[in-house]
């Protein structure tokens, strides 16, 4: 099992609110192998971004373990954690608000190099900045430009260069292409894939876009109200969804194939509040297969076939949507 880079065990993150405890992430466990991508999908408020951030301790998890290369990073001191961040980085969703508008492209990329004291000589730093710009496809001409002069795609490239500056092994990509147009989105996805191969990176890819995650991820985890409801290799999940929520989610993807009429599953209602959650299956009130036992207790995530995990008392048997 030495090829597992990151192991997350029973990760929980609760937020205190005036109305009660908000269970953003409620006992999530998974492993990621080195050089692979785990896609985390789900709708707004399901806790997918909080999961990504909790793993990096950008928000301090309430409980659980995050084991990175054999070390539980939740036990590290603040100082040790700073050093650890050299190994684990994040790319944010919004390239419009995640870059300091007063810094130039080169200053932005230089920042992590200086903080982590990767180089001390100015020449080395400059050389590395130019190298990184080249790596992410930013022309040298933009060295002294400011973010506001650039479009979303180029800004996202800066975000990627910043993350790569410290030679991390692991990157959380938090909706890295959601704010971009389709043609630019494809450019950035291709770049991230190339970089993964070149630098042997391991990704967590958080997104709400199912077609993107299908293309990008090796394994896909589906989250609903703070819990993993299903996890399987991408092809398996799309061909053979076992959880009714996954099935509904997949059926809702608008398809460009005008010949093939898909069967749509329109879910009733909306995601319920993650405050004061029921102690039965969280999807029960929207599920069309719901039975009495679904309202009695909460299903656990179990492996029903090799590498295919599902948290449902009545997993689906029939064919998937593809």
């Amino acid at each position: 099992m030495s090829d597992i880079l990151l192991q997350v065990i029973d990760l929980k993150k609760y937020f205190k609110t005036t109305k009660g405890m908000l269970h953003a992430v409620d006992g999530v466990s998974f492993n990621i192998k080195k050089g692979k991508t785990l896609g985390i999908v789900g709708e707004s408020g399901c806790g997918k971004s909080t999961t990504g951030r909790s793993i990096l301790r950008l928000t301090e998890p309430t409980s659980g373990q995050v084991i990175f290369e054999g070390k539980d990073i939740l036990k590290l001191s603040k100082k040790e954690m700073v050093a650890m961040r050299k190994e684990m980085q994040i790319i944010f969703q919004d390239p419009f608000s995640s870059l300091d508008p007063k810094m130039t492209v080169s200053q932005l990329i230089k920042e992590p190099l200086v903080i982590h004291k990767i180089f001390t000589e100015n020449e080395d730093i400059e050389k590395r900045v130019r190298e990184l710009m080249d790596l992410v496809g930013l022309t040298p001409r933009l060295y002294d430009s400011y973010p506001h002069e650039l479009d979303g795609g180029r800004r996202q490239r800066i975000g990627i260069a910043r993350a790569l500056a410290v030679n991390p092994k692991f990157i959380v990509c938090d909706e890295p292409v959601s704010a971009l147009d389709v043609s630019i989105q494809a450019q950035i996805l291709n770049l991230l894939k190339e970089l993964q191969e070149k630098l042997d990176l391991t990704y967590i890819f958080v997104t709400h876009d199912l077609s993107v995650v299908y293309y990008f991820a090796d394994d896909i985890a589906v989250m609903y109200l703070g819990k993993l409801v299903e996890k399987a290799p991408a092809e398996e999940l799309f061909a053979n969804p076992k959880h009714p929520y996954t099935q509904a989610l997949l059926s809702a993807i608008p398809s460009v194939d005008i010949r093939k009429k898909k069967e749509r599953i329109v879910l009733k209602g909306e995601i319920t509040s993650p405050i004061n959650m029921p102690n039965h299956c969280r999807f029960a009130n929207r599920c069309s297969y719901c039975q009495q036992d679904c309202k009695n207790s909460d299903p656990k995530l179990v492996e029903i076939s090799p590498n295919h995990f599902v948290a449902c008392f009545h997993p689906l048997g029939k064919e998937g949507i593809l």
Binding site: V182, I184, S211, A234, I253, P254, D257
Partner: protein, 348 residues
């Protein structure tokens, strides 16, 4: 006690318009004259919408989609905007020639708009009931009480319980707010509905609910719709006809089958090839190189030439004109009928 009971007014039936095209736009040009430069947002487009049809207006940020539809309602702020057109006919009426008062009669009543972001298009200090009722009070001249009653009916139609009409927008989720926005737009039974990215801010399962609702309502009220979107999947789901916009021009237009199965413009091809292939996970994405052009540039040739993988020298020098492939299908490309020109689209 009410002695003289006023005769109760009800809302009117859908406004009948007998012409073939509810919208007829010819050679629409929109530019914004700012202190720094002139931005050419829309550069001469023709647009026709048949009754009960849904037209998808597709393109990326800055293609001029929103400017185009705002011009239909005469909502382009002037200055800095300058709108020129041979004609803009809405239900046969020339929008350019109407007074503000006449325009107010058309807006909401005959042509209504659903905006992209339901979080900001509702007024936070009025209840949703009041916001829907406003349309009835202005256009159908109902009293406030009657209008609020109608508003409740409308809420039920878009799938929100009537008893929530006294609540404020912040008490609703994103999908519910978009339903309210749709209720406002459809309140006066317009025969043209413009939906500007109506589901972009919503989750997929909620997006599906909203699209299904719009489909049902279009059927029920026989509305013609312009659907602005960047998502080709949504176009495939909802539209009868498609117009692909690039740099303020319509580069390809036709029925859904024309554009999706017989793609002719390299930009349309690029949009399709940028999407992940749902049939083959391992095929590489094939994005369009480069970026959309600066809208302050006036092109001598084809605006797409510099990003086009088929471009030849003439594409940079000569402006393409509209070429008709069939009665419904048209394309704006210089090379579309040349022997060595073949669109490569992986089927998804």
């Amino acid at each position: 006690m009410e002695i003289f009971k006023r005769k109760k007014k009800t809302v009117q039936q859908p406004k009948a318009f007998e012409g073939e095209y509810v919208l007829d736009v010819e050679d629409l040009k929109i530019r914004y004259e700012t202190d720094d430069a002139v931005v050419y947002a829309v550069n001469g487009i023709d647009l026709k919408l048949k009754r009960k049809q849904t037209l998808g207006l597709v393109g990326e940020t800055g293609a001029g989609k929103t400017s185009t539809v705002l011009a239909l309602l005469k909502l382009i702020p002037t200055p800095p905007g300058v709108v020129e057109a041979k004609k803009i006919l809405v239900n046969g009426k020339d929008v350019m020639a109407l007074s503000d008062k006449q325009l107010q009669q058309i807006r909401g009543n005959e042509i209504a708009m659903v905006f992209q972001d339901p979080m900001t298009s509702l007024d936070p200090v009025y209840t949703v009931g009041e916001q829907i009722a406003e349309s009835y009070m202005i256009h159908d001249k109902l009293s406030k009480k009657e209008a609020l009653e109608e508003a409740k009916k409308m809420l039920e139609i878009v799938g929100i319980p009537a008893e929530r009409s006294g609540e404020f927008p912040y008490q609703f989720s994103g999908g519910m707010k978009q339903r309210v926005v749709i209720a406002i737009a459809l309140a006066c039974r317009p025969n043209i509905l413009i939906a500007d990215e109506p589901t972009t801010a919503l989750d997929v399962t909620i997006q599906l609910q909203v699209l299904e609702l719009m489909k049902q309502l279009n059927e029920k009220y026989q509305t013609s719709t312009i659907m602005i979107t960047h998502d080709l999947g949504i176009v495939a789901e909802t539209c009868d006809e498609v117009a692909v916009m690039y740099a303020g021009q319509i580069v390809e237009k036709g029925t859904l089958e024309d554009v999706f199965e017989n793609t002719k413009h390299p930009y349309t091809e690029g949009l399709f090839n940028s999407l992940p292939n749902m049939n083959d996970r391992n095929s590489k994405l094939n994005p369009i190189k480069g970026l959309i052009p600066d809208p302050t540039i006036v092109f001598t040739g084809c605006p797409f030439a510099e990003r086009c993988r088929y471009a030849k020298e003439k594409c940079f020098k000569q402006k393409p004109t509209v070429k008709h492939l069939s009665e419904s299908h048209q394309v704006k490309c210089l090379r579309y009928d040349e022997a060595d020109f073949k669109i490569e689209r992986s089927l998804k």
